[in-house]
Symmetry: C2
Subunit: 246 residues, 2 copies
């Protein structure tokens, strides 16, 4: 499993296409992922056409990977198919609620991550677009997602045309808690964040953005309170429109 | 990656302990998973003590794996540590909102699934407990999770003491959509669910529960509207108490 140790996100892709047979076999193999009640509460929309990529791009703030990747995959929490199955089988589905959204989102994200592992093991490169939940209604409209289907992850996929440096990670002490959650203190923060804050690329990032600390890059520029709160509202509105907050 | 093709959930574990060094190396390796802005918005609480397992068990409806597994791992969406980092660094965090919950839950679930893959590759067996989001407040209280930490997945982990039969999966046609979401119709339902419905174990399950269809097992017994709606309310209340729905 050394490819996991060595993984990095890939944002530039070779012109070489991703064969349909390979893609299907990876998507199918990923179905072995554990799933709630074996219901498989997810679906995947595959985007290969240039026109659909152009229409998806603004939903992802025009990140160039959307039009630059051979394949874009949108992983959706999906209680629509299961509910239709129930209706076709004299059963009354009661899944238009928030718990069911979180159940389906969980299924979709676990499935997505197994797919990513399999794709990277096959030599493909990918970038996970966190923007999927920033403007979900635009994605819902573009991909024509019906009630009880909600996009939770997007992967841009292709054969790598770059070998980027690996990014840092926090030491295990930052994320691991024994028996109960242990207090986060100024001392544990210093212990766990010092190496990250000392990285030349982060110091440079701070300098060009005129910020006193790396954390301010996140709070003042990348993920501001104002953006988070406004996008939270859009996200909740979209959940309501898709039938998951009745 | 044949172990993924052959995977099954394991609910009975050998007495052999899971070595601390192995567990830590798997948790650390899984940190290579992509994460939003490289913030790693997750944490893991490791339960090894019998007393804590006994206290966690009712949160998971007393499923026997909780006390029967050598290790229980609770994966949490965590914006607490990151927010504390910001406060220690003269930055004002604005992550007490629903978008930030979904971002952190996504990070935690992707990380969890990479961990599961690595653990299974190492020969360990595990069962993913979907019950984590059914009574989250009890888990929050038991594990003493602070504001902006929320449990999203639980894994019972150990060396397998059983080799259960593999469960079925839907054909790829059920989950794959080209370019836009394709209509789910009575015809596609028949095409995609016929094999599952014809399985002897599902027919037997129907018979002993006196149900006319397999779907009714889910709507009338396993995941009823009444339970889903009541647990949705508890879930939203817990999210509010943890500060993610301000």
């Amino acid at each position: 499993m050394d490819f996991i140790k060595n993984r990095r996100s890939v944002r530039r892709f070779a012109a070489r296409p991703v064969e349909e047979g390979l893609l299907r076999s990876l998507l199918e193999e990923a179905e072995r992922t554990q799933t709630m009640g074996n219901l498989q509460l997810y679906s995947v929309v595959v985007t290969r056409s240039d026109e659909m990529k152009r229409r998806l791009a603004p939903c992802h703030f025009n990140q160039p990977m959307v039009t630059g990747a051979p394949v874009v995959l949108t992983f959706c929490a999906d209680y629509h198919r299961t509910s239709e199955w129930c209706r076709c089988r004299q059963a009354d589905p009661g899944y238009d609620n928030f718990l069911s959204f979180l159940n389906a989102a969980t299924d979709a994200l676990l499935y997505c991550q197994t797919f990513c592992t399999l794709a990277e093991a096959a030599g493909l490169g990918l970038c996970f677009l966190g923007t999927t939940v920033y403007r979900p209604q635009d994605i819902i409209d573009t991909l024509r997602l019906p009630q009880l289907v909600f996009p939770v992850a997007t992967i841009t996929l292709g054969w790598p045309d770059e070998a980027p440096a690996q990014t840092d990670r926090l030491p295990l002490s930052a994320i691991l808690h024994e028996e109960t959650y242990q207090p986060v203190t100024p001392q544990t923060i210093d212990r766990d964040y010092a190496a990250k804050e000392a990285l030349p690329e982060n110091l440079e990032f701070q300098r060009i953005n005129h910020k006193a600390t790396l954390a301010q890059i996140f709070t003042d520029i990348r993920y501001t309170r104002r953006d988070c709160e406004s996008m939270s509202q859009g996200l909740l509105d979209a959940l309501r429109r898709q039938g998951f907050l009745s």
